[in-house]
């Protein structure tokens, strides 16, 4: 099985990081995985995105023409990729900065969550809005095991950042909850 997802947002929102964590968790599950960022001039002006592909076989192209899923952390990110998600696919949208209404497709599943508000107001941890979204995505997609992702956190973080693990775990959990309960 091959699962591909694009995550898009502004620079600084940590979209590359959640891609990284997802890929890392998949590797720890013993699966094949690729992570591919946009780079260079594309980065100027603050856009950021990456593609993660998880598979049980050798992965060909690390880019996706029609990904199974999109994580949109910002409106420009949503606009750039909303047409490309394949029919039957999944979109997880940060409604704090992007408008799910603008998707205008009914052949994909759309999950919206106000990640910035949740992170800032509920968790008092505005940096982890991205992790809230990732938690929701993993839960909805089943791309990797949620538990294994949590388990891999300490291996994922470099020594000097271990103290961040707890906050990330909490944010992931909150995203999971949102995915399950819709709030």
């Amino acid at each position: 099985m091959l699962y591909d997802v694009i995550m898009a947002g502004f620079g600084g929102q940590g979209v590359l990081l959640i891609g990284d964590l997802l890929a890392f968790a998949a590797m720890r599950e013993g699966r094949q995985v690729t992570w591919m960022p946009a780079y260079g001039v594309e980065m100027r002006g603050g856009a950021a995105n990456c593609t993660v592909i998880i598979s049980d076989r050798k992965i060909g192209s690390p880019l996706s023409v029609e990904p199974a899923a999109l994580i949109a952390m910002s409106q420009p990110g949503l606009v750039k990729f909303r047409e490309r998600v394949r029919p039957g696919g999944l979109m997880v949208i940060n409604t704090s900065l992007a408008d799910p209404e603008s998707v205008a497709r009914n052949d994909v599943e759309v999950v919206g969550l106000p990640a910035n508000e949740i992170a800032t107001e509920e968790l008092n941890d505005p940096k982890n809005a991205n992790m809230v979204v990732l938690g929701a995505f993993i839960t909805k997609s089943g791309a990797v095991s949620f538990e294994k992702t949590l388990d891999s956190l300490s291996a994922f973080l470099p020594p000097e950042r271990q103290r961040l693990a707890e906050g990330i775990a909490r944010a992931l959990q909150r995203g999971k909850l949102f995915a399950q309960e819709g709030r």
């Binding site: 502004f10 603050g46 910002s74 420009p76």
Partner: protein, 74 residues
């Protein structure tokens, strides 16, 4: 017609203009624009205080500010 016209749609909120205005007539934090920034804007109702010195305009790296001066009656 106002003395200072800021092209808010293109403003990147660098705050250079605000930082040099001797009268502190420019503020940051306008409604988020297409570029994703909260632009500079001229403080409402303080037009009279503006000396048309154009320092704000000189400093704007994106050349987004136009400054006018009332012509002296000749």
């Amino acid at each position: 017609m106002p003395k200072v016209v800021i092209d808010e749609a293109r403003c990147k909120a660098c705050a250079f203009c605000a930082s040099v205005c001797p009268k502190k007539l420019i503020e940051l934090g306008g409604p988020i624009n297409q570029l994703g920034y909260q632009p500079a804007f001229f403080s409402p109702d303080r037009e009279g205080e503006c000396t048309s010195c154009a320092l704000c305009a000189e400093m704007c790296p994106d050349v987004l500010i136009e400054v006018f001066r009332e012509e002296k009656a000749s």
